[in-house]
Subunit: 106 residues, 2 copies
């Protein structure tokens, strides 16, 4: 079955961007215990000082859906909400392969 991927953008006031990134890093940490989550990276743009990009790879779409109701995720969403001025799901992927994905010969 093909992996499922997501690429999204969060925006905040520039003075809150690093605080938002720190919360998203906590989300990435909490994903360590979530089996279906293979990659969850927090990316700070070179040029956009108000933006944080999140790249996610999941074993499948269901694994991603299930994660949204986890208590740890819900509490981080509540923490982050006041800082977020915008959210944009830039791309979703039905298939993801490549170097660095666990357990997957390229």
């Amino acid at each position: 079955m093909d992996k499922f991927g997501l690429y999204g953008k969060f925006t905040a006031k520039p003075e809150n961007r690093d605080m938002l990134a720190a919360i998203l890093m906590e989300a990435a940490s909490s994903m360590e215990a979530v089996e279906g989550c293979e990659l969850y990276t927090i990316n700070l743009s070179d040029t956009e000082l108000d933006s944080v990009y999140v790249y996610e790879v999941w074993t499948d779409k269901d694994a991603h859906e299930a994660s949204l109701s986890l208590e740890a995720v819900q509490s981080l969403i509540l923490q982050a909400k006041p800082l977020i001025t915008g959210m944009e799901r830039i791309s979703t992927f039905k298939q993801v392969w490549g170097k660095g994905l666990p357990g997957q010969p390229v």
Copy 2:
């Protein structure tokens, strides 16, 4: 030192998209031997049938620059060129952390 990341989009005629993805998968395979390359994933969009997205994470910017002159990379670029109708570097990241990055506690 912070990792360096890239997110780019390649477009091809819809009938050539999978062929282009296959060449980019070869590039991902060749990155297995490239130490500075930590992640190189090929992503097929759910909605854009002419597009392939590549997400890359490098130990630093220099490692990425150096990879562009590798023989394997040069020959894959030559193979892919006739299929590519457009290229867009969507984001570059000065810092990348998260779950799934080798050797990096979140």
